[in-house]
């Protein structure tokens, strides 16, 4: 199974000719339990790519998960399976608690993010890093098959980065696929990620070493 890997038949997330007015066409495939990391200058379209995959912006092309095409699923169901966490998530209520549904894994996830007491807090008093981790917890609650993460650790101190990466590794081991945008040059190797590079809306595999950042 791992050896036949190169081609998309057993790929979990398959993207072909994904295009919006600003990016693409993009081809990408991501296997269960694998991680891909995209780097590139700001404005290259990295976030737009993630938005297009989660169908938040209008786009054309073919996207499928385990052979099921995206259009065959209602968009809300697709987004629960392919969960996208933007660099800055929205908080629509005053209290942290109102943004979470009670699921059996909630307490455990909050503990793993070192935010066990956060539910009783107010959103306005959260730091950027706390928001970032809570947004990740919120997405992990959905038990998605694929995680699309936009700079998930950009606002975190080193110990929190380690904690989030441990959470992600656990997910990868459980068979989840992770596609992340990262400006941290060492993060891809820590997550054993396949590297991609994005520039002017185009996605390249294996960038030349100098091209990262």
């Amino acid at each position: 199974m791992q050896l036949a890997a190169k081609f998309e038949t057993d790929a979990m997330l398959t993207i072909k000719d994904l295009q919006t007015p600003l990016i693409g066409p993009v081809d990408l495939s991501l296997k269960s339990g694998h991680c891909a990391a995209i780097s590139g200058p700001s404005g290259a379209g990295k976030s737009l790519l993630l938005r297009a995959i989660s169908d938040l912006d209008e786009n054309t092309g073919h996207v499928s998960l385990d052979g099921t095409t995206r259009d065959a699923l209602p968009a809300p169901e697709w987004r629960r399976k392919v969960a996208y966490v933007p660099a800055e998530s929205g908080w629509w209520a005053e209290n942290v608690q109102d943004h979470f549904v009670e699921t059996p894994n909630l307490a455990e996830l909050l503990q793993a993010a070192a935010l066990s007491n956060a539910l009783s807090w107010q959103v306005s008093r959260l730091s950027t890093g706390e928001r970032q981790r809570l947004a990740l917890v919120r997405a992990l609650q959905l038990n998605p098959d694929v995680l699309l993460l936009d700079e998930p650790t950009s606002a975190l101190d080193p110990s929190s980065v380690a904690r989030v990466e441990a959470l992600l590794k656990a997910r990868l081991e459980a068979g989840c696929a992770v596609l992340l945008v990262s400006h941290d040059p060492d993060q891809p190797s820590r997550l054993e990620a396949h590297r991609y590079y994005m520039n002017s809306g185009e996605l390249f595999e294996n960038p030349a070493p100098g091209a990262i950042q």
Binding site: L56, A75, W92
Partner: protein, 268 residues
């Protein structure tokens, strides 16, 4: 009851004495309000005298077509007003069309219901009843719809991240826009709710005052006023609900995306 006391045009000139005094104060104190004050007073005078003439002509003609034409003109003005009062508008024909459509549907339905069901003039479209009633209903629905849409569009444009965060958690477009819809409905309903709460305590409603001044028994005037308030409340509610949900439908799509590209930008 003493009956109706007719006014002469000289009475009106005399009544404007204090307004003219205000203009003189404004000049003396250099408030810079003189121009606007005089222009709006003159404008109002010309508008009302014209409306009086037109209404009288329509009443005398007693034709359903002239009545409908007058109603259509009122509807067009109110529709334009809804459009003008929004800071961010739907682009294309949806901008003027959606708000006016919701207002007219609610307004026509409720006006017809009130005329045919309760006031029952003969014929039912008799302009003396139809036009003032339609005007009042339209005016209130217009205020509600324009406030509702303005709030909705501003909330969605400024709260894009909040709506999208909910969409990303697998909520539908209706669930994700519920906080914005709630705010829009609240601000659209506020004027009519306030009007109902304050009516009769703070000021006597204009229509009731008019009826009492023209010699109608206060209890009869109150009944009429209540009828009107119920119709106004009903029409405003229907109009605001219709406009808000239609606009949410337009600003999202089948794939449950927020489509702010269908909204024109704000002032900045």
């Amino acid at each position: 009851m003493s009956g109706y006391q007719a006014l002469t045009y000289w009475d009106l000139v005399a009544a404007s004495l204090f307004l003219i005094l205000n203009a003189i104060f404004s000049i003396a104190l250099n408030l810079g309000l003189t121009r606007t004050l005089i222009i709006s007073a003159l404008r109002m005078t010309v508008q009302l005298i014209l409306v009086g003439l037109i209404l009288k002509a329509i009443f005398i003609a007693g034709s359903i077509w002239w009545t409908l034409l007058a109603a259509a003109v009122m509807g067009a003005f109110a529709g334009r007003e809804i459009w003008a009062r929004q800071e961010r508008r739907l682009i294309g024909l949806w901008g003027p069309g959606l708000g006016a459509g919701a207002m007219l549907m609610a307004g026509c339905l409720v006006t017809f219901y009130g005329l045919a069901g309760q006031i029952r003039p003969d014929p039912v479209w008799q302009p003396q009843f139809a036009l003032p009633l339609f005007g009042m209903i339209l005016g209130n629905t217009m205020t509600g719809v324009s406030l509702g849409l303005d709030t909705l569009h501003t909330t969605l444009a400024k709260g894009k991240k909040d709506v999208e965060a909910q969409l990303l958690l697998g909520k539908t477009r209706w669930e994700a826009t519920r906080p914005a819809a709630r705010q829009a409905l609240r601000s659209g309903f506020t004027p009519i709710i306030n009007a109902m709460a304050a009516t009769g305590v703070v000021s006597l409603p204009g229509m009731m005052t008019g009826q009492i001044l023209s010699g109608v028994d206060p209890q009869e005037a109150v009944k009429y006023q209540l009828l009107i308030m119920f119709l106004l409340g009903g029409a405003t509610g229907l109009g605001v609900l219709g406009a808000t949900f239609a606009s949410i439908w337009r600003l999202t799509d089948k794939r449950h995306r927020l489509r702010l590209d269908r909204l024109s930008g704000g002032k900045s």
